[in-house]
Symmetry: C2
Subunit: 196 residues, 2 copies
Amino acid sequence: TDTRSRILAVAREMFHGRSYADVGIQEICEGARVQKGSFYHFFPSKRDLALAVIDDMADDWAHGFVAEAFDQALPPLERLDYMIDAAYYWQKASADLEGRMPGCLFGNLALEMSTRDDVMRARLNAVFDKARDQFRATLDEAVALGALAALNTEATASAMLAYLEGVILLAKTRNDPEVILVLGPAIKTLRIEMSH
Amino acid sequence: TDTRSRILAVAREMFHGRSYADVGIQEICEGARVQKGSFYHFFPSKRDLALAVIDDMADDWAHGFVAEAFDQALPPLERLDYMIDAAYYWQKASADLEGRMPGCLFGNLALEMSTRDDVMRARLNAVFDKARDQFRATLDEAVALGALAALNTEATASAMLAYLEGVILLAKTRNDPEVILVLGPAIKTLRIEMSH
DNA sequence: CAGTCGCTTGACCGACCGGTCTACTTTTTG
DNA sequence: CAAAAAGTAGACCGGTCGGTCAAGCGACTG
């Protein structure tokens, strides 16, 4: 229904821009112009809402941002630049609009919740695994095309994901999206060699 | 006094292992075996406590972990490996003791608080700047010694810091300290060239 | 037209939040 | 030794938290 998706959208934005603990259900209800009873008709608990938000955003990500950035038409290594650019423009748009960088919803939630909720941690882990697989496929292709010397693509893919999250973390702390532009491209220099 | 430092120590551990919002003042007081009145005698607010915790930990860091890892006696590039190892053993010790990886206190707080409190963000930023300067000095030395081809040491230092934070974030999400051992050494492959 | 079912309303709950306050004890200081 | 200052004790505050619930709504269905 429309109520459910309105709650989901508002919660997503609030969780992203602030944090899980800092956003209250009442506030979400106000933002979505919904009463508490309705909220609890659709979501058994705040935690379940958060899980739904993660799924929702992961879906949007997979079909929007990621699908574009990892466009098969581009040469593999250029996809990485494309993705950095996409991350930059997205964060910059938020910074211009709201005066602050929300960072990565998944990274934010991962650091906040990993030590408190294993189910949520597992869910975020799965999102990261999917992202890593995208990197990995890209690297595999680059190696196959001879654009890159053979390397441990799985580990390097994880390293690239970690680097991306780290760059966004640093940019958010500096409240300066340009950090992504300056540091981002170095993602291509990361290498983990194959183990023997 | 001793009461103040007991509060500080307990708060640090709790903030590190969970999050700022998730830890209550009452809980901290119980942990430190102190009454609320005493707490507010030493700290005007929870937020000020958090700032004090940041300063306290930054100090310990600078004089302990960092000072060791960036030991001047070691060849520059080996210091990076040493630092990765130190991060690994620290996180592993926590994981073994408490069953969970706390991650980096500064990274955790940065993602949780950056959009909500500019003073705290600035404080965390300063901590990161200091860490970056350590990386930078190491890189400068490596270049001077000819162990590394000339590069943009300041930007590369930031990239390395971001990567370290990202690796810890990923390891925490996977709840597996070994991630640090596998991905960490690739920090030496990061390069940002000098701009012309 | 009666009944049911998805959805909504909003009052209400106990628990806990960060923070205040007054009274009391201990330590320092002149 | 007296007085002031530093620290401790713990009851208390309004507000908000996540969550519950009984009642009511309108739209389908028999």
